[in-house]
Subunit: 428 residues, 2 copies
Amino acid sequence: MRWTKSLIPTLKEDPQDAEVISHKLMIRAGLMRKLSSGAYSYLPLGFKMLTKVKTIIREEMQAAGAEEVLLPALQPLELWKKTGRDENLGEVMFKFRDRHGKIICLGPTHEEVITDLVSKEVSSYRDLPKILFQIQTKFRDELRPRFGVLRSCEFIMKDAYSFDATTKDADISYDKMFKAYKRIFSRCGLDYITVEADSGVMGGGVSHEFMVPSEKGEDLIITCASCGYAASRDMFRDDAPKTGDPCPKCGRKIKLHNAIEIGHTFKLGTKYSKTLGARFLANDRTEHDIIMGCYGIGVNRIIASMIETSNDKDGIICPPSIAPYEVVIMPLNMANAQVTKAAEKIYEDLRKSGLDILIDDREVSAGIKFKDSDLIGFPLQVIIGEKNLKDGKGEVKVRKTQKSHKADLKDIPDQTKSLLEKTKSQKT
Amino acid sequence: MRWTKSLIPTLKEDPQDAEVISHKLMIRAGLMRKLSSGAYSYLPLGFKMLTKVKTIIREEMQAAGAEEVLLPALQPLELWKKTGRDENLGEVMFKFRDRHGKIICLGPTHEEVITDLVSKEVSSYRDLPKILFQIQTKFRDELRPRFGVLRSCEFIMKDAYSFDATTKDADISYDKMFKAYKRIFSRCGLDYITVEADSGVMGGGVSHEFMVPSEKGEDLIITCASCGYAASRDMFRDDAPKTGDPCPKCGRKIKLHNAIEIGHTFKLGTKYSKTLGARFLANDRTEHDIIMGCYGIGVNRIIASMIETSNDKDGIICPPSIAPYEVVIMPLNMANAQVTKAAEKIYEDLRKSGLDILIDDREVSAGIKFKDSDLIGFPLQVIIGEKNLKDGKGEVKVRKTQKSHKADLKDIPDQTKSLLEKTKSQKT
């Protein structure tokens, strides 16, 4: 892709309403723009990152045996009344009447819809186990939308639901999803920790949260450096522990941190299947409630969380797995035909090798090119300048280390490929 | 994929509320289920078809130089007031208040949002031309949702928008999109015609509709067999022509048909850019309104339209390009170990060749397997039965022709591949 053909409106200044670094950088790097409170438009670079995250999620969900579906955002209120969650969710759920006077909700989550579907389409133990997932927009009427896509009214969620005949099978499904989540977050370059959590409005029993520690995080977690215990502070309700208190597991001292949840897994038991009639006939012809689990990932939050923990004074440091482009080619002086010719050749060579590449073909100063590429955080910068070119050389700079590697022009494509592989194999 | 691991709930009976064949077959083939009036859940097979259609659209949009973005479904009413389309769309637009009392709309289309975005991010002739597109859910409060996904309240649309500095450039963009549309519909196996159309609520000048002729279609078009002229009847307003009337172009007789629009392209001119302030600075420092075009495709409608024209008494006849699976392997008797072993081997062989395959591993009668596969319309069926197996043979049946090709077991994978290539190269 050519920079001049794309829409990459970078900004020098932080947006006024941005309180956290990911929000500031996502706007400044031209990944997205605010349409209204809690609703963001993804521009080409942000959309590319979303797509890469979705692809990783799909690959891992499919590898774990889950199948993709797509459920409506428009949902009838009656379904929510059956589980009583219309009251639990309260004002968070957008509700309105259609032209015929029927009350419609905008799905804040899909347990009711999927359980209702499965209650009608699954009837025998032979149909189980089953794991279904979707990547779908959710809507929540947040009291105070803030922190960019970390707390917005419209966001993309991957939600998976498991359906099993026995508790043992349900544990196997839960474990499959748990392991898939670890792979997803690792592949997205996130420094996450898993904590025991409270099930809250979701109900059911055991649940785990996947957290990215962050100073401005809205969630509080406790961790024990001695035994490795980690839990959401919500688990303790009124008896909230603080730094220095004894660990509930080993008795040594715990630490209290802030952390912006990126995933949550729940063992739901039969809470939804019982209420919505999702039952199955066992081998012995007896009827039972299906045992369920549900598993959510905030897709936009993955990007914001990565940025929260992977940035420096110059901007974002993207891991190659979810970077909008893996490499940016920077001809520093577009007026010099030798510079542009050399840059174009490398661009073509690397494109043919299957790399995801942007060429910064704007007629702007070298300073602007450096600043913008550092801001967006492309993992590698291939720099073609007049000075090096006189010696038949170019440079490859690694964004994360800011380390430059000079090489003969003809070796630049191989140099880039090998540095990219090296960057991919390193933890962000 | 294994049939028993997926969720493919086929039905013998037509759903009671279905009036058109595509709606009946999409439910019976287990592609989707109705959640409520005008809102459908896509099950795994339906979702796979949606994904294949989206991939074709993305490939052709990118080849035409368009870049993908993602705009919010939640939109502030103020934007719509600026263009006056809040009144034009009337009750079709879902509107409600958020918890702070602000009126929010659910996007029925995105001209306002994209023009507002471009007005803020594009300022120079250097930034033009630009074509942006998204694949996003649209919401419309239909008076009478019907015909399954042909007229629903929530549907997936590909909407593209072009931005140009001159009328000549705008024509070039329009032409690029027009050609891309032809390729998209051809690749999806649709028998479509293009007609001159009325711009209606969209405003602007020239527009074309891509139509699939269908008896139950809600749109009316006239065609002239002599000169090839085709137009929407809406073009003629009160002076509506009928079959046998003179062609407005050559004077010979026209025909009036019914036809379920799958795409629409519009030359918008400056209608939106003028109102929303999307202007650019020309080379000579004078300021001008950006010239726009917009281009919509109903993604779900592509599937329904294909089914409307590509079916027989047994069910759907899917073109390989958008079939949920290209091939279904049918071991007719799961109790016979030789049958299942032979079928599994072919399944593995074909999977390794990169084909998209389902194996019908259900312990049901051969009759049910045949009926279900014909109903869903997988392009090829690989049939492994006891009788043929005694002679070391299997069969490959082409769904469209119902013609069977017997072959030695070892040759079945190659036979399947060559028949698939042949089916792909034929027009559906």
